[in-house]
């Protein structure tokens, strides 16, 4: 090996002085490590809370409110059908209508929503009213 390379390596790879901040970093690690640990635990907790909130927001309005009234019968009769015992597709058909019914049914003031606003045909919205019987016509 050439002397030139030895000399250059010794010169350019010479020892360096450690920064003063190194000792300060050594004195801090327990706190920073604890902070890191806390920050890592925050993410799963936040994710779980978000998921729980999303699931709650989705499922709670869809749950039919408990009622002592024969809601299915009332809904069919209010739609003007002569035979309440007929075979009805009692479900919330269009998502937009369902959402309007849900909002009205579960808003704190129980905002009355006219079926005319939502239903363009006589049979529309029956399923929603059956599910969400607190709506006032």
């Amino acid at each position: 090996m050439s002397d030139w390379l030895k000399r250059e390596l010794s010169s350019h790879l010479a020892p360096a002085q450690a920064p003063h901040a190194l000792w300060e970093r050594l004195e801090r690690p327990p706190e920073s490590l604890a902070g890191k640990a806390r920050s890592w635990t925050r993410w799963p907790i936040a994710a779980m809370l978000t998921l729980a909130a999303a699931a709650g927001a989705y499922w709670l309005p869809a749950r039919p409110p408990e009622s002592e009234f024969p809601t299915q019968l009332l809904a069919v009769q209010s739609a003007g059908r002569p035979d309440p015992s007929g075979d009805w597709a009692l479900h919330c058909t269009l998502p937009a209508r369902k959402v309007v019914y849900q909002v009205a049914a579960f808003s704190p003031q129980r905002i009355p929503v006219s079926p005319m606003v939502i239903a363009s045909a006589p049979g529309d919205g029956i399923g929603c009213r059956q599910c969400h019987s607190t709506i006032v016509n």
Partner: protein, 190 residues
């Protein structure tokens, strides 16, 4: 006083939890640890992380240190292991800003000479940076710390013959990669 004690007394004081002893031990070995970390990683920020990890490990395992090896060898092993464990993709050895700052600090030469020296340093460090980790570590221990072959062998846990072989391979690789510097300077005497 702890600072005036021998290495063994210092270690015993550390084992008793003496904070001053820890500080004294740190002051003795900080430049050594940081230099190896810096020359191996090539990045001051990485070197700080490696040095911090090394001292934390040292302080935590000093209780089990029974003096079966010299303390400096023990510390070299710690820093070498931390360097080799760090499988980070290597970047340039020193940031450009530091090169320019070094250029400005080089008061002994004119600006052209200083710039040439800076470029030379960059080329050499970049060539060292490209060496495989086991060859690079041998180069750092040899040229940064000035360790003898048997000391390097003790730190790396291999035979002196292996150290010689690695050094030889590293030298040949570096000579090949830096050949352009030799020819540019008319025989390589910069």
């Amino acid at each position: 006083m702890v600072l005036e004690g021998t290495e063994r007394e210092l270690v015993r004081a550390c084992q008793r939890g003496d904070r001053d002893a820890f500080r004294a031990l740190f002051e003795i070995h900080k430049d050594r640890v940081y230099s190896v970390a810096l020359r191996f990683s090539g990045d001051p920020s990485d070197a700080m992380d490696i040095a911090q990890d090394t001292f934390l490990k040292l302080f935590s395992c000093l209780g089990s240190f029974r003096g079966q090896a010299r303390l400096d060898t023990f510390i070299y092993r710690l820093v070498v292991n931390r360097c080799l464990d760090r499988k980070r993709k290597l970047r340039r050895l020193l940031p450009l800003a530091e090169d320019w700052a070094s250029t400005l600090r080089a008061t002994g030469d004119g600006p052209v000479e200083a710039l040439l020296r800076t470029q030379m340093r960059g080329s050499i460090r970049a060539a060292v940076e490209k060496l495989p980790p086991e060859l690079r570590m041998v180069i750092v221990l040899r040229y940064t710390e000035g360790l003898a072959y048997d000391q390097i062998a003790e730190v790396l846990g291999c035979s002196p013959g292996t150290v010689a072989s690695r050094l030889n391979r590293a030298h040949k690789t570096l000579e090949r990669r830096l050949a352009h510097l030799v020819s540019e300077k008319g025989g390589g005497r910069v």
